[in-house]
Protein backbone atom coordinates (compact mmCIF):
# COMPACT_ATOMS: atom_id res chain seq x y z
CA UNK A 1 0.00 0.00 0.00
CA UNK A 2 1.38 3.40 -1.01
CA UNK A 3 2.36 5.66 1.83
CA UNK A 4 1.14 9.20 1.53
CA UNK A 5 3.82 11.62 0.49
CA UNK A 6 2.22 14.78 1.82
CA UNK A 7 2.10 15.20 5.53
CA UNK A 8 -0.92 17.17 6.78
CA UNK A 9 1.17 20.34 7.20
CA UNK A 10 2.48 20.41 3.65
CA UNK A 11 -1.01 19.74 2.31
CA UNK A 12 -2.47 22.75 4.06
CA UNK A 13 0.53 24.88 3.06
CA UNK A 14 0.11 24.24 -0.67
CA UNK A 15 -2.25 26.41 -2.78
CA UNK A 16 -5.75 25.71 -1.64
CA UNK A 17 -7.45 24.87 -4.94
CA UNK A 18 -4.95 22.23 -6.01
CA UNK A 19 -4.89 20.35 -2.76
CA UNK A 20 -8.69 20.31 -2.49
CA UNK A 21 -8.86 18.84 -5.99
CA UNK A 22 -6.24 16.23 -5.15
CA UNK A 23 -8.13 15.39 -1.97
CA UNK A 24 -11.36 14.83 -3.84
CA UNK A 25 -9.67 12.65 -6.44
CA UNK A 26 -7.86 10.75 -3.69
CA UNK A 27 -11.12 10.12 -1.88
CA UNK A 28 -12.77 8.94 -5.09
CA UNK A 29 -9.95 6.51 -5.85
CA UNK A 30 -9.86 5.20 -2.31
CA UNK A 31 -13.62 4.71 -2.22
CA UNK A 32 -13.50 2.97 -5.56
CA UNK A 33 -10.77 0.60 -4.36
CA UNK A 34 -12.43 -0.31 -1.06
CA UNK A 35 -15.87 -0.75 -2.62
CA UNK A 36 -14.41 -2.81 -5.45
CA UNK A 37 -12.56 -5.08 -3.03
CA UNK A 38 -15.73 -5.59 -1.00
CA UNK A 39 -17.73 -6.45 -4.11
CA UNK A 40 -14.99 -8.89 -5.06
CA UNK A 41 -15.69 -10.93 -1.92
CA UNK A 42 -19.34 -11.16 -2.96
CA UNK A 43 -18.47 -12.01 -6.54
CA UNK A 44 -16.01 -14.70 -5.44
CA UNK A 45 -18.65 -16.51 -3.43
CA UNK A 46 -21.11 -16.35 -6.31
CA UNK A 47 -18.32 -17.44 -8.62
CA UNK A 48 -17.62 -20.51 -6.51
CA UNK A 49 -21.27 -21.58 -6.64
CA UNK A 50 -21.64 -20.89 -10.35
CA UNK A 51 -18.40 -22.57 -11.39
CA UNK A 52 -19.29 -25.69 -9.39
CA UNK A 53 -22.72 -25.83 -11.02
CA UNK A 54 -21.15 -25.21 -14.43
CA UNK A 55 -18.43 -27.83 -13.98
CA UNK A 56 -20.94 -30.38 -12.74
CA UNK A 57 -23.57 -29.69 -15.39
CA UNK A 58 -22.56 -32.72 -17.48
CA UNK A 59 -23.11 -35.05 -14.53
CA UNK A 60 -26.39 -33.42 -13.53
CA UNK A 61 -27.68 -33.53 -17.09
CA UNK A 62 -26.61 -37.12 -17.66
CA UNK A 63 -27.80 -38.65 -14.42
CA UNK A 64 -30.46 -36.24 -13.19
CA UNK A 65 -31.79 -37.14 -9.77
CA UNK A 66 -30.09 -40.51 -10.02
CA UNK A 67 -26.86 -38.71 -9.23
CA UNK A 68 -28.12 -38.25 -5.68
CA UNK A 69 -30.18 -41.43 -5.28
CA UNK A 70 -27.93 -44.03 -6.91
CA UNK A 71 -25.18 -45.84 -5.06
CA UNK A 72 -23.35 -47.04 -8.17
CA UNK A 73 -19.94 -45.45 -8.60
CA UNK A 74 -18.38 -47.15 -11.57
CA UNK A 75 -15.58 -45.30 -13.32
CA UNK A 76 -15.15 -47.99 -15.96
CA UNK A 77 -18.76 -47.94 -17.18
CA UNK A 78 -19.19 -44.21 -16.55
CA UNK A 79 -22.01 -44.63 -14.05
CA UNK A 80 -21.85 -42.22 -11.12
CA UNK A 81 -24.23 -41.95 -8.18
CA UNK A 82 -23.31 -40.04 -5.07
CA UNK A 83 -25.40 -41.80 -2.45
CA UNK A 84 -22.48 -43.54 -0.73
CA UNK A 85 -20.32 -40.39 -0.36
CA UNK A 86 -23.35 -38.35 0.74
CA UNK A 87 -24.25 -40.99 3.31
CA UNK A 88 -20.63 -41.13 4.50
CA UNK A 89 -20.43 -37.36 4.89
CA UNK A 90 -23.66 -37.25 6.89
CA UNK A 91 -22.83 -40.21 9.12
CA UNK A 92 -19.24 -39.19 9.88
CA UNK A 93 -20.41 -35.63 10.63
CA UNK A 94 -23.22 -36.90 12.85
CA UNK A 95 -20.72 -39.02 14.81
CA UNK A 96 -18.47 -35.99 15.10
CA UNK A 97 -21.31 -33.88 16.49
CA UNK A 98 -22.24 -36.61 19.00
CA UNK A 99 -18.72 -36.38 20.39
CA UNK A 100 -17.93 -32.70 19.94
CA UNK A 101 -21.10 -31.00 21.22
CA UNK A 102 -21.18 -32.50 24.75
CA UNK A 103 -17.39 -32.27 25.11
CA UNK A 104 -17.37 -28.65 23.98
CA UNK A 105 -20.16 -27.80 26.40
CA UNK A 106 -18.16 -29.51 29.12
CA UNK A 107 -15.05 -27.50 28.25
CA UNK A 108 -17.01 -24.23 28.28
CA UNK A 109 -18.56 -25.20 31.63
CA UNK A 110 -15.13 -26.08 33.00
CA UNK A 111 -13.63 -22.77 31.89
CA UNK A 112 -16.57 -20.81 33.29
CA UNK A 113 -17.22 -22.56 36.61
CA UNK A 114 -14.46 -24.96 37.64
CA UNK A 115 -11.12 -23.69 36.49
CA UNK A 116 -9.34 -21.03 38.55
CA UNK A 117 -8.93 -17.81 36.54
CA UNK A 118 -5.16 -18.23 36.06
CA UNK A 119 -5.73 -21.62 34.43
CA UNK A 120 -8.60 -20.67 32.09
CA UNK A 121 -6.39 -18.68 29.71
CA UNK A 122 -3.75 -21.37 29.07
CA UNK A 123 -6.33 -24.16 28.79
CA UNK A 124 -8.42 -22.07 26.42
CA UNK A 125 -5.37 -21.46 24.23
CA UNK A 126 -4.38 -25.13 24.37
CA UNK A 127 -7.81 -26.19 23.15
CA UNK A 128 -7.69 -23.57 20.42
CA UNK A 129 -4.33 -24.96 19.28
CA UNK A 130 -6.23 -28.09 18.30
CA UNK A 131 -7.84 -25.91 15.64
CA UNK A 132 -4.48 -24.60 14.45
CA UNK A 133 -3.03 -28.06 13.76
CA UNK A 134 -3.29 -28.61 9.99
CA UNK A 135 -5.85 -31.21 9.03
CA UNK A 136 -3.26 -33.27 7.18
CA UNK A 137 -1.49 -33.85 10.51
CA UNK A 138 -4.76 -35.20 11.93
CA UNK A 139 -4.95 -37.44 8.89
CA UNK A 140 -1.43 -38.83 9.27
CA UNK A 141 -1.81 -39.31 12.98
CA UNK A 142 -5.14 -40.98 12.31
CA UNK A 143 -3.68 -43.37 9.77
CA UNK A 144 -0.47 -44.34 11.54
CA UNK A 145 -1.38 -44.05 15.22
CA UNK A 146 -5.10 -43.80 15.87
CA UNK A 147 -6.35 -46.38 13.35
CA UNK A 148 -4.08 -49.13 14.73
CA UNK A 149 -5.21 -48.16 18.23
CA UNK A 150 -8.83 -48.51 17.14
CA UNK A 151 -8.11 -51.81 15.39
CA UNK A 152 -6.24 -53.37 18.31
CA UNK A 153 -8.19 -52.14 21.32
CA UNK A 154 -11.44 -50.28 20.68
CA UNK A 155 -13.03 -52.15 17.81
CA UNK A 156 -12.58 -55.71 19.15
CA UNK A 157 -14.16 -54.49 22.37
CA UNK A 158 -17.08 -52.95 20.44
CA UNK A 159 -17.51 -56.20 18.51
CA UNK A 160 -17.64 -58.22 21.70
CA UNK A 161 -19.83 -55.96 23.79
CA UNK A 162 -22.09 -54.05 21.41
CA UNK A 163 -22.01 -56.14 18.24
CA UNK A 164 -24.66 -58.58 19.42
CA UNK A 165 -27.18 -56.09 20.74
CA UNK A 166 -30.59 -56.02 19.12
CA UNK A 167 -30.93 -52.69 17.34
CA UNK A 168 -27.57 -50.95 17.43
CA UNK A 169 -25.64 -54.21 17.06
CA UNK A 170 -25.18 -54.08 13.26
CA UNK A 171 -23.57 -50.64 13.63
CA UNK A 172 -20.71 -52.10 15.65
CA UNK A 173 -20.36 -55.43 13.92
CA UNK A 174 -17.53 -55.70 11.46
CA UNK A 175 -13.88 -56.47 10.93
CA UNK A 176 -11.69 -54.51 13.34
CA UNK A 177 -9.43 -52.93 10.72
CA UNK A 178 -9.29 -49.45 12.23
CA UNK A 179 -10.10 -47.73 8.95
CA UNK A 180 -13.71 -46.70 8.65
CA UNK A 181 -16.58 -44.47 9.51
CA UNK A 182 -16.19 -44.64 13.28
CA UNK A 183 -12.51 -43.67 13.23
CA UNK A 184 -13.23 -40.82 10.81
CA UNK A 185 -16.13 -39.59 12.95
CA UNK A 186 -14.02 -39.54 16.10
CA UNK A 187 -11.19 -37.63 14.41
CA UNK A 188 -13.66 -35.14 12.95
CA UNK A 189 -15.16 -34.72 16.40
CA UNK A 190 -11.76 -33.90 17.88
CA UNK A 191 -11.11 -31.41 15.10
CA UNK A 192 -14.29 -29.40 15.60
CA UNK A 193 -14.19 -29.32 19.41
CA UNK A 194 -12.10 -26.11 19.44
CA UNK A 195 -14.45 -24.29 17.04
CA UNK A 196 -17.53 -25.05 19.10
CA UNK A 197 -16.01 -24.73 22.56
CA UNK A 198 -14.29 -21.39 21.96
CA UNK A 199 -17.55 -19.77 20.82
CA UNK A 200 -19.46 -21.34 23.72
CA UNK A 201 -16.88 -20.01 26.13
CA UNK A 202 -17.08 -16.52 24.64
CA UNK A 203 -20.87 -16.37 24.76
CA UNK A 204 -20.96 -17.76 28.29
CA UNK A 205 -18.62 -14.99 29.31
CA UNK A 206 -20.84 -12.43 27.60
CA UNK A 207 -23.84 -13.30 29.80
CA UNK A 208 -24.65 -10.23 31.94
CA UNK A 209 -23.16 -10.51 35.41
CA UNK A 210 -26.46 -9.51 37.02
CA UNK A 211 -28.16 -12.63 35.66
CA UNK A 212 -25.55 -15.04 36.95
CA UNK A 213 -25.12 -13.33 40.27
CA UNK A 214 -28.81 -13.07 41.02
CA UNK A 215 -29.14 -16.80 40.35
CA UNK A 216 -26.22 -17.51 42.68
CA UNK A 217 -27.79 -15.20 45.26
CA UNK A 218 -30.94 -17.33 45.19
CA UNK A 219 -28.79 -20.29 46.16
CA UNK A 220 -28.42 -21.99 42.79
CA UNK A 221 -25.45 -24.31 42.31
CA UNK A 222 -22.96 -23.56 39.48
CA UNK A 223 -24.55 -26.33 37.42
CA UNK A 224 -28.03 -24.89 37.90
CA UNK A 225 -26.81 -21.42 36.97
CA UNK A 226 -25.31 -22.79 33.75
CA UNK A 227 -28.17 -25.09 32.84
CA UNK A 228 -31.11 -22.89 33.80
CA UNK A 229 -29.80 -19.33 33.37
CA UNK A 230 -26.73 -19.15 31.14
CA UNK A 231 -27.78 -21.77 28.59
CA UNK A 232 -31.32 -20.46 27.98
CA UNK A 233 -29.91 -16.96 27.64
CA UNK A 234 -27.32 -18.04 25.06
CA UNK A 235 -29.41 -20.69 23.33
CA UNK A 236 -29.27 -19.28 19.82
CA UNK A 237 -25.51 -18.66 19.93
CA UNK A 238 -24.88 -22.17 21.26
CA UNK A 239 -26.94 -23.55 18.38
CA UNK A 240 -24.98 -21.28 16.04
CA UNK A 241 -21.68 -22.63 17.37
CA UNK A 242 -22.96 -26.17 16.86
CA UNK A 243 -23.91 -25.48 13.26
CA UNK A 244 -20.57 -23.82 12.65
CA UNK A 245 -18.89 -27.00 13.87
CA UNK A 246 -21.18 -29.05 11.65
CA UNK A 247 -20.25 -26.91 8.64
CA UNK A 248 -16.58 -27.60 9.36
CA UNK A 249 -17.16 -31.32 9.78
CA UNK A 250 -19.10 -31.66 6.53
CA UNK A 251 -16.37 -30.05 4.46
CA UNK A 252 -13.30 -31.45 6.20
CA UNK A 253 -11.19 -33.31 3.68
CA UNK A 254 -7.69 -34.42 4.49
CA UNK A 255 -8.28 -35.89 7.94
CA UNK A 256 -11.06 -38.17 6.76
CA UNK A 257 -9.40 -39.03 3.44
CA UNK A 258 -6.65 -40.84 5.32
CA UNK A 259 -8.87 -42.95 7.55
CA UNK A 260 -12.10 -43.49 5.60
CA UNK A 261 -10.77 -46.11 3.20
CA UNK A 262 -12.25 -44.75 -0.05
CA UNK A 263 -14.76 -47.56 -0.48
CA UNK A 264 -17.79 -47.05 -2.69
CA UNK A 265 -19.79 -49.86 -1.11
CA UNK A 266 -22.76 -49.25 1.07
CA UNK A 267 -22.49 -50.60 4.59
CA UNK A 268 -24.49 -50.18 7.77
CA UNK A 269 -21.54 -51.02 10.00
CA UNK A 270 -19.58 -48.07 11.35
CA UNK A 271 -16.47 -50.25 11.37
CA UNK A 272 -16.48 -50.71 7.61
CA UNK A 273 -14.58 -48.43 5.23
CA UNK A 274 -16.71 -45.79 3.59
CA UNK A 275 -16.38 -42.57 1.69
CA UNK A 276 -17.30 -38.95 2.00
CA UNK A 277 -17.90 -36.26 -0.59
CA UNK A 278 -14.70 -34.42 0.22
CA UNK A 279 -12.62 -37.60 0.45
CA UNK A 280 -13.93 -38.88 -2.89
CA UNK A 281 -12.95 -35.62 -4.59
CA UNK A 282 -9.50 -35.56 -3.00
CA UNK A 283 -8.78 -39.21 -3.75
CA UNK A 284 -10.05 -39.44 -7.29
CA UNK A 285 -9.64 -36.02 -8.83
CA UNK A 286 -6.23 -36.59 -10.36
CA UNK A 287 -7.34 -40.02 -11.61
CA UNK A 288 -10.47 -38.74 -13.33
CA UNK A 289 -9.79 -39.68 -16.94
CA UNK A 290 -13.09 -38.94 -18.64
CA UNK A 291 -15.15 -35.72 -18.81
CA UNK A 292 -18.12 -37.36 -17.11
CA UNK A 293 -15.93 -38.63 -14.25
CA UNK A 294 -14.45 -35.18 -13.71
CA UNK A 295 -17.86 -33.56 -13.98
CA UNK A 296 -19.29 -35.98 -11.43
CA UNK A 297 -16.56 -35.07 -8.95
CA UNK A 298 -17.20 -31.35 -9.46
CA UNK A 299 -20.93 -32.00 -9.10
CA UNK A 300 -20.08 -33.60 -5.74
CA UNK A 301 -18.24 -30.38 -4.88
CA UNK A 302 -21.37 -28.42 -5.81
CA UNK A 303 -23.53 -30.53 -3.49
CA UNK A 304 -21.01 -30.09 -0.69
CA UNK A 305 -20.90 -26.34 -1.24
CA UNK A 306 -24.68 -25.97 -1.20
CA UNK A 307 -25.08 -28.03 1.96
CA UNK A 308 -22.26 -26.29 3.86
CA UNK A 309 -23.52 -22.90 2.67
CA UNK A 310 -26.94 -23.58 4.17
CA UNK A 311 -25.51 -24.94 7.42
CA UNK A 312 -23.04 -22.07 7.80
CA UNK A 313 -25.72 -19.48 6.93
CA UNK A 314 -27.94 -20.85 9.70
CA UNK A 315 -24.95 -20.75 12.06
CA UNK A 316 -24.19 -17.10 11.27
CA UNK A 317 -27.82 -16.02 11.56
CA UNK A 318 -28.05 -17.61 15.00
CA UNK A 319 -24.79 -16.08 16.15
CA UNK A 320 -25.87 -12.67 14.81
CA UNK A 321 -29.04 -12.76 16.88
CA UNK A 322 -27.04 -12.83 20.09
CA UNK A 323 -24.75 -10.05 18.89
CA UNK A 324 -27.79 -7.84 18.26
CA UNK A 325 -29.22 -8.59 21.69
CA UNK A 326 -25.98 -7.70 23.41
CA UNK A 327 -25.61 -4.42 21.54
Amino acid sequence: MARVANSPESASASPKGESAFADVVGDRIFRFLTTGAAWLVLILLLGVALSMAWGGRLAFQTFGWHFITSDVWDAVNHQFGALVPIYGTLVSSALAMLIAVPVSFGIALFLAEVSPPWLSGPIGIAIELLAAIPSIIYGMWGLFVFAPFMADIVEPWLNDHLGNLAIIGPLFNGPPIGIGMLTAGIILGIMIIPFISSIMRDVFQAVPKELRESAFALGATPWEVTWRVVLPHTRSAVMGATFLGLGRALGETMAVTFVLGNAHDFSTSLLMPGNSIAAAIANEFTEADSPIYLSSLIALGFLLFVVTFIVLAIARLMLMRLERESE
Binding site: V4, R31, P134, G247, T253
Partner: protein
Amino acid sequence: MISVVQRRQIKNMIALVAATLATLFGLVWLVWILWTTLTKGAAALSPRLFTEMTPPPGSDGGLLNAFYGSALMILIAVVIGTPIGILAGTFLAERGRKSVLAEVIRFLNDILLSAPSIVLGLFIYELVVRPIGHFAGYAGGFALALILLPVVVRTTDEALRLVPHYLREAGLSLGLPEWKVILNIVYRSASTGIATGVLLAVARISGETAPLLFTALNNQFWTFDPRTPMANVPVVIFQYAMSPYDSWHKLAWAGAFVVTAFVLGLSITVRLVLRPRNFK
Protein backbone atom coordinates in the same frame (compact mmCIF):
# COMPACT_ATOMS: atom_id res chain seq x y z
CA MET B 1 -32.84 -40.81 52.27
CA ILE B 2 -31.11 -37.90 50.58
CA SER B 3 -32.53 -34.42 50.88
CA VAL B 4 -33.29 -32.13 47.97
CA VAL B 5 -30.30 -29.95 48.79
CA GLN B 6 -27.97 -32.92 48.82
CA ARG B 7 -29.38 -34.17 45.55
CA ARG B 8 -28.78 -30.78 43.95
CA GLN B 9 -25.25 -30.73 45.28
CA ILE B 10 -24.54 -34.22 44.02
CA LYS B 11 -25.90 -33.27 40.60
CA ASN B 12 -23.68 -30.23 40.63
CA MET B 13 -20.62 -32.29 41.54
CA ILE B 14 -21.33 -34.81 38.77
CA ALA B 15 -21.70 -32.02 36.21
CA LEU B 16 -18.50 -30.28 37.24
CA VAL B 17 -16.51 -33.50 37.32
CA ALA B 18 -17.85 -34.36 33.86
CA ALA B 19 -16.84 -30.90 32.64
CA THR B 20 -13.32 -31.42 33.98
CA LEU B 21 -13.13 -34.81 32.30
CA ALA B 22 -14.32 -33.26 29.02
CA THR B 23 -11.51 -30.72 29.21
CA LEU B 24 -8.99 -33.45 29.92
CA PHE B 25 -10.45 -35.39 26.97
CA GLY B 26 -9.75 -32.41 24.71
CA LEU B 27 -6.23 -31.94 26.04
CA VAL B 28 -5.34 -35.63 25.73
CA TRP B 29 -5.77 -35.50 21.95
CA LEU B 30 -3.67 -32.36 21.67
CA VAL B 31 -0.85 -33.95 23.65
CA TRP B 32 -1.16 -37.27 21.81
CA ILE B 33 -1.06 -35.70 18.34
CA LEU B 34 1.79 -33.35 19.21
CA TRP B 35 3.74 -36.14 20.87
CA THR B 36 3.40 -38.38 17.80
CA THR B 37 4.45 -35.60 15.46
CA LEU B 38 7.35 -34.62 17.67
CA THR B 39 8.80 -38.09 18.21
CA LYS B 40 8.28 -39.43 14.70
CA GLY B 41 9.25 -36.12 13.12
CA ALA B 42 12.37 -35.57 15.20
CA ALA B 43 13.54 -39.10 14.41
CA ALA B 44 13.25 -38.37 10.70
CA LEU B 45 14.85 -34.93 10.75
CA SER B 46 18.21 -34.55 9.07
CA PRO B 47 20.13 -31.76 7.35
CA ARG B 48 19.42 -33.46 4.03
CA LEU B 49 15.78 -32.44 4.46
CA PHE B 50 16.75 -28.89 3.53
CA THR B 51 19.43 -29.63 0.95
CA GLU B 52 18.02 -32.39 -1.27
CA MET B 53 15.08 -32.84 -3.60
CA THR B 54 12.14 -35.19 -3.08
CA PRO B 55 13.37 -38.70 -3.91
CA PRO B 56 11.91 -41.40 -6.17
CA PRO B 57 10.21 -44.31 -4.38
CA GLY B 58 12.37 -46.27 -2.00
CA SER B 59 15.38 -43.96 -1.79
CA ASP B 60 16.44 -41.17 0.54
CA GLY B 61 16.25 -37.49 -0.09
CA GLY B 62 14.92 -34.22 1.24
CA LEU B 63 12.09 -31.80 0.78
CA LEU B 64 13.93 -28.74 -0.53
CA ASN B 65 11.79 -28.28 -3.64
CA ALA B 66 8.63 -28.72 -1.58
CA PHE B 67 9.71 -26.10 0.95
CA TYR B 68 10.52 -23.70 -1.85
CA GLY B 69 7.19 -24.34 -3.58
CA SER B 70 5.20 -23.88 -0.39
CA ALA B 71 7.03 -20.66 0.45
CA LEU B 72 6.41 -19.29 -3.04
CA MET B 73 2.71 -20.17 -2.98
CA ILE B 74 2.23 -18.63 0.45
CA LEU B 75 4.02 -15.52 -0.80
CA ILE B 76 1.73 -15.30 -3.83
CA ALA B 77 -1.29 -15.73 -1.56
CA VAL B 78 -0.14 -12.99 0.80
CA VAL B 79 0.73 -10.58 -2.01
CA ILE B 80 -2.69 -11.01 -3.64
CA GLY B 81 -4.91 -11.61 -0.65
CA THR B 82 -3.64 -9.05 1.85
CA PRO B 83 -4.25 -5.79 -0.07
CA ILE B 84 -7.67 -6.89 -1.31
CA GLY B 85 -8.59 -8.15 2.13
CA ILE B 86 -7.50 -4.95 3.86
CA LEU B 87 -9.38 -2.80 1.34
CA ALA B 88 -12.55 -4.86 1.64
CA GLY B 89 -12.27 -4.83 5.43
CA THR B 90 -11.85 -1.06 5.26
CA PHE B 91 -15.05 -0.77 3.25
CA LEU B 92 -16.94 -2.83 5.84
CA ALA B 93 -15.63 -0.90 8.82
CA GLU B 94 -15.41 2.65 7.50
CA ARG B 95 -18.05 3.08 4.88
CA GLY B 96 -20.61 0.40 5.49
CA ARG B 97 -21.46 0.22 9.16
CA LYS B 98 -25.14 0.59 8.61
CA SER B 99 -25.52 -0.30 4.94
CA VAL B 100 -27.28 -3.44 3.76
CA LEU B 101 -24.53 -4.18 1.24
CA ALA B 102 -21.94 -4.25 3.99
CA GLU B 103 -24.10 -6.52 6.15
CA VAL B 104 -24.54 -8.92 3.23
CA ILE B 105 -20.83 -8.92 2.42
CA ARG B 106 -19.89 -9.41 6.06
CA PHE B 107 -22.29 -12.35 6.23
CA LEU B 108 -21.00 -13.95 3.03
CA ASN B 109 -17.40 -13.35 4.08
CA ASP B 110 -18.05 -15.23 7.31
CA ILE B 111 -19.38 -18.12 5.26
CA LEU B 112 -16.36 -18.02 2.96
CA LEU B 113 -14.23 -18.12 6.12
CA SER B 114 -15.55 -21.56 7.07
CA ALA B 115 -16.32 -22.87 3.58
CA PRO B 116 -14.68 -26.21 2.71
CA SER B 117 -11.23 -25.45 1.31
CA ILE B 118 -11.57 -28.34 -1.13
CA VAL B 119 -14.43 -26.53 -2.88
CA LEU B 120 -12.37 -23.34 -3.11
CA GLY B 121 -9.63 -25.42 -4.72
CA LEU B 122 -12.10 -26.81 -7.27
CA PHE B 123 -13.15 -23.23 -8.06
CA ILE B 124 -9.57 -22.23 -8.87
CA TYR B 125 -9.29 -25.42 -10.93
CA GLU B 126 -12.28 -24.35 -13.02
CA LEU B 127 -11.10 -20.75 -13.18
CA VAL B 128 -7.37 -21.17 -13.85
CA VAL B 129 -6.18 -24.72 -14.36
CA ARG B 130 -8.79 -25.85 -16.88
CA PRO B 131 -8.38 -22.80 -19.20
CA ILE B 132 -4.55 -23.01 -19.23
CA GLY B 133 -4.67 -26.79 -19.58
CA HIS B 134 -2.22 -27.86 -16.87
CA PHE B 135 -1.53 -27.60 -13.14
CA ALA B 136 0.56 -24.62 -12.08
CA GLY B 137 2.28 -23.32 -8.97
CA TYR B 138 0.63 -19.92 -9.20
CA ALA B 139 -2.82 -21.54 -9.32
CA GLY B 140 -1.93 -23.01 -5.93
CA GLY B 141 -1.05 -19.51 -4.78
CA PHE B 142 -4.44 -18.25 -5.97
CA ALA B 143 -6.25 -21.01 -4.11
CA LEU B 144 -4.38 -20.15 -0.91
CA ALA B 145 -5.16 -16.45 -1.48
CA LEU B 146 -8.84 -17.34 -1.60
CA ILE B 147 -8.52 -18.98 1.82
CA LEU B 148 -6.46 -16.15 3.27
CA LEU B 149 -8.73 -13.38 1.98
CA PRO B 150 -11.77 -13.81 4.27
CA VAL B 151 -9.53 -14.06 7.34
CA VAL B 152 -7.87 -10.75 6.49
CA VAL B 153 -11.23 -9.11 5.66
CA ARG B 154 -12.67 -10.09 8.99
CA THR B 155 -9.69 -9.17 11.16
CA THR B 156 -9.27 -5.84 9.37
CA ASP B 157 -12.96 -5.08 9.85
CA GLU B 158 -12.74 -5.93 13.54
CA ALA B 159 -9.49 -4.06 14.08
CA LEU B 160 -10.72 -0.88 12.36
CA ARG B 161 -13.96 -0.87 14.30
CA LEU B 162 -11.94 -0.82 17.52
CA VAL B 163 -10.30 2.49 16.52
CA PRO B 164 -12.12 5.23 18.46
CA HIS B 165 -14.22 7.70 16.48
CA TYR B 166 -12.58 10.74 17.95
CA LEU B 167 -9.31 9.86 16.21
CA ARG B 168 -11.04 10.02 12.82
CA GLU B 169 -12.91 13.15 13.79
CA ALA B 170 -9.71 14.84 14.92
CA GLY B 171 -8.15 14.13 11.51
CA LEU B 172 -11.22 15.25 9.59
CA SER B 173 -11.49 18.45 11.61
CA LEU B 174 -7.95 19.35 10.53
CA GLY B 175 -9.24 19.29 6.96
CA LEU B 176 -7.69 15.96 5.97
CA PRO B 177 -9.51 14.02 3.26
CA GLU B 178 -11.02 10.72 4.28
CA TRP B 179 -8.39 8.58 2.58
CA LYS B 180 -5.56 10.30 4.38
CA VAL B 181 -7.36 9.89 7.67
CA ILE B 182 -7.71 6.18 7.02
CA LEU B 183 -4.17 5.63 5.71
CA ASN B 184 -2.33 7.78 8.23
CA ILE B 185 -4.43 7.56 11.35
CA VAL B 186 -6.81 4.60 11.31
CA TYR B 187 -4.44 2.04 9.74
CA ARG B 188 -1.66 3.12 12.04
CA SER B 189 -3.70 2.60 15.18
CA ALA B 190 -5.09 -0.70 13.90
CA SER B 191 -1.81 -2.03 12.49
CA THR B 192 -1.32 -4.63 15.24
CA GLY B 193 -4.78 -6.07 14.68
CA ILE B 194 -4.33 -6.20 10.93
CA ALA B 195 -0.90 -7.82 11.23
CA THR B 196 -2.37 -10.41 13.59
CA GLY B 197 -4.97 -11.28 11.00
CA VAL B 198 -2.43 -11.66 8.21
CA LEU B 199 -0.10 -13.84 10.30
CA LEU B 200 -2.92 -16.09 11.54
CA ALA B 201 -4.08 -16.43 7.94
CA VAL B 202 -0.55 -17.45 6.91
CA ALA B 203 -0.57 -20.04 9.69
CA ARG B 204 -3.86 -21.35 8.38
CA ILE B 205 -2.84 -21.65 4.73
CA SER B 206 0.58 -23.16 5.32
CA GLY B 207 -0.97 -26.51 6.20
CA GLU B 208 -3.73 -26.45 3.61
CA THR B 209 -3.59 -29.52 1.42
CA ALA B 210 -6.90 -30.16 -0.30
CA PRO B 211 -7.02 -27.08 -2.57
CA LEU B 212 -3.44 -27.66 -3.74
CA LEU B 213 -4.30 -31.12 -5.06
CA PHE B 214 -6.21 -29.56 -7.96
CA THR B 215 -4.05 -26.52 -8.54
CA ALA B 216 -0.32 -26.89 -7.92
CA LEU B 217 -0.36 -30.69 -7.68
CA ASN B 218 3.21 -31.88 -7.22
CA ASN B 219 6.54 -32.07 -8.96
CA GLN B 220 9.35 -34.37 -8.09
CA PHE B 221 11.96 -32.08 -9.53
CA TRP B 222 13.29 -28.64 -8.83
CA THR B 223 11.53 -25.79 -10.57
CA PHE B 224 11.70 -22.04 -10.15
CA ASP B 225 8.86 -21.52 -12.56
CA PRO B 226 5.45 -21.07 -10.94
CA ARG B 227 3.80 -21.69 -14.32
CA THR B 228 4.58 -25.39 -14.03
CA PRO B 229 3.28 -27.91 -11.47
CA MET B 230 5.17 -27.35 -8.24
CA ALA B 231 6.00 -29.47 -5.24
CA ASN B 232 4.64 -28.23 -1.92
CA VAL B 233 4.98 -29.64 1.55
CA PRO B 234 1.34 -30.60 2.29
CA VAL B 235 0.75 -32.48 -0.97
CA VAL B 236 4.13 -34.24 -0.65
CA ILE B 237 3.17 -35.29 2.89
CA PHE B 238 -0.16 -36.60 1.61
CA GLN B 239 1.35 -38.62 -1.25
CA TYR B 240 4.25 -39.95 0.79
CA ALA B 241 2.12 -40.89 3.79
CA MET B 242 -0.31 -42.80 1.55
CA SER B 243 2.54 -44.65 -0.17
CA PRO B 244 3.79 -48.07 0.91
CA TYR B 245 7.47 -47.03 1.22
CA ASP B 246 9.14 -46.63 4.60
CA SER B 247 11.61 -44.00 3.42
CA TRP B 248 8.72 -41.90 2.08
CA HIS B 249 6.85 -42.30 5.39
CA LYS B 250 9.89 -40.97 7.21
CA LEU B 251 10.05 -37.93 4.94
CA ALA B 252 6.32 -37.35 5.40
CA TRP B 253 6.78 -37.30 9.18
CA ALA B 254 9.70 -34.92 8.87
CA GLY B 255 7.59 -32.62 6.71
CA ALA B 256 4.66 -32.91 9.12
CA PHE B 257 6.96 -31.97 11.98
CA VAL B 258 8.25 -28.87 10.19
CA VAL B 259 4.76 -27.73 9.14
CA THR B 260 3.29 -28.28 12.61
CA ALA B 261 6.18 -26.50 14.31
CA PHE B 262 5.82 -23.57 11.91
CA VAL B 263 2.04 -23.29 12.23
CA LEU B 264 1.87 -23.70 16.00
CA GLY B 265 4.92 -21.49 16.53
CA LEU B 266 3.33 -18.75 14.46
CA SER B 267 -0.08 -19.00 16.17
CA ILE B 268 1.42 -19.01 19.65
CA THR B 269 3.77 -16.12 18.89
CA VAL B 270 0.95 -14.06 17.41
CA ARG B 271 -1.26 -14.74 20.43
CA LEU B 272 1.41 -13.95 22.99
CA VAL B 273 3.19 -11.07 21.30
CA LEU B 274 0.73 -9.17 19.17
CA ARG B 275 -2.62 -9.54 20.82
CA PRO B 276 -3.83 -11.50 23.81
CA ARG B 277 -7.34 -11.64 22.31
CA ASN B 278 -8.28 -14.86 20.60
CA PHE B 279 -9.47 -15.18 17.04
CA LYS B 280 -11.89 -17.75 15.65
